[in-house]
């Protein structure tokens, strides 16, 4: 059976896996984004808190994904919970770091001007600082998403959802005729998803980056 025949005969299963993969990554990214920006906003003003947040999240990123999932299994069991927790944790670092860098990089004169025209602290944050820091944050989100695509594949080993199952099925049946097709379908599927997400982010960037700072 060649690759195209394989895709043809299994497209339902593959599409379901691809959808689950994308939705797991997407949902975890939403959580990671909200959490990451929140951590950034809370910590960026103080030197040590910001550094602590960056250090903590980068330590998490240093931990190999299989090992983190392995440590989560005794606590939360197999399946979706370890996948979601691991993906969210790994997604945090680029977002936290870029929000802190972005927020600290906002020209203090602009914030001062906002203060001068009587904006409250919340208004300054939402109307001046976050819009100006948004491009680096969005870059962080892109980097995170690409990373999570690959980690989600590994999470399939802990009975997580997604295209990783296809890859592990292929590894499990090494030597059989379909092994290559399965691995190839899973791998290429993830590459395609990653590129689609990336394209979506470019579009989101166009739509959401404030017109005044668009390059």
């Amino acid at each position: 059976m060649n690759f195209w025949d394989y895709l043809g005969s299994r497209h339902e299963q593959l599409l379901a896996d691809a959808f689950q993969h994308a939705s797991a990554v997407f949902q975890c990214m939403v959580i990671a984004t909200l959490l990451g920006i929140l951590i950034g906003v809370v910590t960026y003003r103080s030197e040590w808190a910001g550094n602590l947040a960056t250090l903590t999240t980068s330590t998490i990123l240093t931990v190999p994904s299989l090992a983190l999932i392995g440590l989560l299994i005794p606590i939360v069991g197999l399946g979706v919970p370890p996948t979601v927790i691991a993906l969210t944790l790994y997604g945090l670092l680029p977002i936290v770091r870029n929000s802190i860098v972005g927020l600290r990089g906002v020209d203090p004169a602009l914030v001062d001007a906002a203060k001068g025209i009587g904006m409250s602290r919340t208004a300054r944050l939402f109307k001046v600082e976050l819009p100006l820091a948004w491009p680096p944050i969005l870059t962080g989100i892109r980097v995170s998403t690409q990373m999570l695509m690959g980690i989600a594949a590994i999470a399939a080993y802990a009975s997580g959802p997604g295209l990783g199952n296809e890859i592990f099925r292929g590894i499990g049946s090494l030597g059989s005729k379909n092994a290559l097709n399965q691995v190839l379908a899973g791998t290429l599927g993830i590459v395609v998803l990653a590129l689609l997400f990336d394209a979506a982010y470019v579009l989101i960037g166009r739509l959401t980056i404030s017109r005044g700072i668009r390059v």
Binding site: A67, G70, I73, P74, M149, Y157, G164, L184, L195
Partner: protein, 295 residues
């Protein structure tokens, strides 16, 4: 009027720095314009070289890891292991896997450096510079490939064993080091290179004595990334029969034996953090003195 003291420059490049002539008083920003008296430049005390390493940095992580490993060992001695767990850990299996893991990491990192740094240098030379964007675009698509998929494909192609795992790890980690090398060489101040050429240095001299030393911090950051990535990817080697600590983790998951799983995971985490720590020390020690930011 006594000019206010400039805040000390932070060693972190990400720190927002006020432009020249601007300073902050009680939370308000002022800017010196016109021809007032110039700000006093902070005098760098040349009496003592700033210490590169603080004792906290040297001791915190190793001590933490030791404590964690000690707790794990104590817990493990009291855990009741059934025959399956005992089998999985018999004959010094843990030690063998740990050694394999280190072997995989060291060998793959060696090859990554051997490939990525010369390639980065080549891609920033004048003649090959137009090829750099293509190489980067290709590498970016490669980055979107999941490590486990790449490894599985290589295993199917090259057969089960350490070799497939090593090739996969090298391919996977070349990109960050390559992009860091290119970024580091590109970020060099062109006027410095011009000056080096101006005093009659040969192209090799400029590269070896000016460009590379200036790019060392970024290249070292790339090396650190590669090491950390490789420790992580090495856990996946087990799926292609390549051994490593991933073996304990996958055995633990498939046989549902938590002690094996936890032991494998903790050892992997400890190894990854230790490698990252060692690389961070190397980063600090190998940075050229001239690039140090004095505070």
């Amino acid at each position: 009027m006594t000019p206010p003291q400039e805040p000390p420059l932070s060693p972190h490049p990400t720190e927002p720095r006020r432009p020249d002539g601007e300073h902050e008083v009680k939370g308000h920003t002022f800017r010196d314009t016109g021809d007032g008296e110039p700000e006093a430049t902070p005098v760098v005390s040349a009496t003592r070289e700033p210490r590169r390493l603080t004792w906290q940095k040297l001791t915190f992580l190793p001590v933490t890891l030791l404590v964690v490993l000690l707790i794990t060992w104590l817990w493990f001695r009291n855990a009741d292991l059934d025959s399956i767990s005992k089998n999985a850990l018999a004959d010094g299996n843990v030690w063998v896997r740990l050694k394999q893991h280190i072997e995989l990491t060291v060998i793959s990192t060696f090859f990554v450096l051997l490939i990525a740094i010369p390639l980065g240098i080549l891609l920033t030379r004048k003649r090959l510079r137009p090829a750099a964007p293509f190489a980067m675009a290709l590498a970016n698509i490669g980055q979107a490939t999941p490590a486990i998929g790449l490894l599985a494909l290589l295993v199917i192609w090259m057969g089960i064993g350490m070799k497939a795992a090593l090739v996969g790890m090298v391919i996977y980690a070349v990109l960050p080091v390559l992009s860091n090398t290119i970024a580091g060489l590109k970020a060099n101040d062109p006027t410095l290179l011009e000056a080096a050429r101006g005093i009659g240095m040969s192209p090799m001299g400029v590269l070896g004595k000016v460009e590379l030393p200036l790019a060392v911090p970024l290249i070292l950051a790339g090396v650190r990334t590669a090491l950390v990535l490789n420790v992580g990817t090495a856990t996946l080697a087990t799926f292609g029969g390549g051994g490593g600590l991933g073996d304990l983790i996958s055995t633990g998951i498939t046989t549902q034996r938590m002690p094996v799983l936890v032991l494998g995971s903790i050892l992997t985490v400890a190894l990854a953090l230790l490698v990252d720590w060692l690389a961070s020390l190397a980063e600090i020690m190998l940075r050229p003195r001239g690039l140090e930011v004095r505070s």
